[in-house]
């Protein structure tokens, strides 16, 4: 009796915790998306959870019921069939149920995988804003090729405009993740990856480097600010007016291992991003640097 009570308290406290958690969902960023991609991904998380729970809940109930029902006590008279070891009907059922569930989930997954392929441009009337992202030891560099400006460890863009992130690395691999806008992608040297995201409303969103890249990897957090188009244009003008320029030497200095505060630059060297990508291209004879970069597109 005591044992069952203890088990019950454990289960109850778990459920209580879950409810408590869901009470403050805005902290749970993945469950509180602010962009189209993040919302689709949340849908998918919910669909797959429900499908799994369809199997999970009966199994858990069955497990505890059977353990309770058939626990042997003197004087208790439950059925005992020590030689019962096979039932084609039952086994077909429990091969069948998971197969059906996984088949459904598999079809949904394949559909969503194509729909949410990170390199696929979003369908939107606005022209996408291109931001070139480079992960360095241990900071993020964001370049705006169309605006000709750059920032370090924070990124600004207008809400309701699709953003085309092009990503590479000039250091060990990292991963670019803004949970409230949508899932992550690796930043790898020698390649230009693409990630398309959009913010549905203005706000300040947490971003991080999600893949371990050495000593101060923990300092690779950044803020992604989605603003109105006017605010964004004003911000670009302000950077252009007041910040220093990023030179090639300046970039080399920036790329040295170390942490960095927020920085901004009023101009960027011509073709810097492409140079960072080709620097590590695997140097095929037939100069496949661009090939490698292109093949990811």
């Amino acid at each position: 009796m005591m044992k069952r009570l203890r088990r019950l308290t454990a289960v109850l406290s778990l459920i209580a915790m879950t409810i408590m958690m869901t009470g403050c969902t805005d902290k749970i960023v993945v469950l509180n998306p602010k962009g189209e991609i993040g919302k689709h991904q949340l849908d998918l998380i919910i669909i797959s959870s429900v499908l799994c729970l369809v199997v999970l809940v009966p199994v858990l109930i069955l497990a505890f019921y059977i353990a309770w029902k058939y626990k042997h006590r003197p004087g208790k008279d439950t059925k005992y069939s020590p030689k019962w070891e096979h039932s084609t009907k039952l086994e077909t059922i429990w091969w069948g149920i998971p197969i059906v569930v996984i088949a459904i989930l598999g079809i949904i997954t394949v559909k969503y995988t194509h729909m949410l392929e990170p390199s696929k441009p979003l369908k939107h009337e606005a022209k996408p804003l291109v931001i070139e992202v480079t992960s360095l030891d241990w900071k993020w560099l964001f370049q705006y090729p169309e605006q000709g400006i750059a920032t370090v460890n924070y990124v600004e863009f207008p809400a309701n405009v699709p953003i085309e992130f092009r990503l590479t690395s000039d250091a060990p691999m990292n991963s670019f993740w803004i949970p409230q806008l949508g899932g992550q992608i690796y930043t790898m040297s020698g390649m230009a990856m693409k990630l398309h995201l959009i913010a549905d409303e203005p706000g300040s969103y947490m971003g991080s480097g999600a893949n371990f890249s050495g000593k101060d990897f923990g300092k690779m957090q950044f803020t992604a600010n989605a603003t109105s188009q006017e605010e964004f244009d004003g911000w670009v003008q302000q950077i252009k007016g007041s910040s220093p320029a990023l030179t090639t030497e300046g970039y080399l200095q920036l790329a040295e291992p170390g942490v960095s505060d927020l920085q901004s630059f009023s101009s960027i060297p011509e073709g810097l991003f492409q140079k960072i990508v080709t620097k590590y291209s695997s140097g095929h004879n037939h100069g496949s640097a661009s090939e490698q970069a292109d093949s990811k597109e």
């Binding site: 695997s282 140097g283 095929h284 004879n285 496949s288």
Partner: protein, 209 residues
């Protein structure tokens, strides 16, 4: 080497490994273990071949295999190794006839052929390094030296092993234990031959073509 058999009598005779239970054929079991080992070795070489195929184009602006491979030497190596596989087969035939002397002689010829293969391979490696293709030159050459070198290392280990078996044959003659050992080494030798055929095709032939 400590043998603490403090509470038992020694085995009545050397080499008759089969137990009294009748169904555990010790030497057969060892042969089976070696077959399984060969499976693992296949996967090892498979991984190295895959690595080579992925990286062989990445020469980082350095020399390519097509420019540097000396096919004449490679064809000689191939011929020698194939012949040594044949002679190791002849050794097994002698063993099956109970001809200890013939067995040792054919094994010795196999060792000599294997040693000349290794010599040629080392010469080839030295020449390559002189011509500016070392293991640190590019990913392509890293993969080349590692793959071909691993095969060469296998052959070298086989040589030492074969000499050890020849000595044992001299001491103990042909019995169930040495019979199994010769069987295993010749299996190993044929295996290395097959691997070399893949090296020859994938690395050299496809490299120069």
């Amino acid at each position: 080497m400590a043998h603490s058999s403090n509470r038992a009598v020694a085995a009545p005779s050397h080499g008759d490994g089969h137990g009294h239970e009748g169904h555990h054929d010790l030497e057969g079991m060892r042969m089976m273990g070696f077959w399984i080992f060969l499976i693992t070795d296949c996967i090892l070489f498979g991984s190295l071949f895959a690595t080579y195929v992925v990286l062989s184009g990445n020469t980082a602006g350095g020399p390519t295999g097509a420019e540097l491979f000396e096919m004449l030497g490679v064809i000689a190596e191939t011929f020698i190794l194939l012949t040594s596989s044949f002679t190791s087969g002849l050794a097994v035939l002698c063993m099956n006839k109970g001809d200890r002397k013939g067995l040792i002689v054919w094994l010795a010829i196999t060792v000599l052929l294997g040693a000349s293969f290794i010599t040629l391979e080392i010469t080839e490696f030295v020449n390559l390094v002189h011509e500016g293709a070392a293991i640190s030159t590019s990913a392509s050459w890293s993969a080349f030296f590692t793959l071909v070198g691993t095969h060469g290392l296998h052959v070298s280990v086989g040589l030492v092993w074969m000499i050890a078996i020849m000595i044992q044959l001299g001491r103990h003659g042909i019995n169930s234990v040495t019979r199994r050992k010769v069987g295993i080494i010749s299996l190993y030798w044929h295996f290395l031959d097959v691997v070399w055929i893949f090296v020859f095709t994938i690395v050299y032939m496809m490299g120069v073509m």
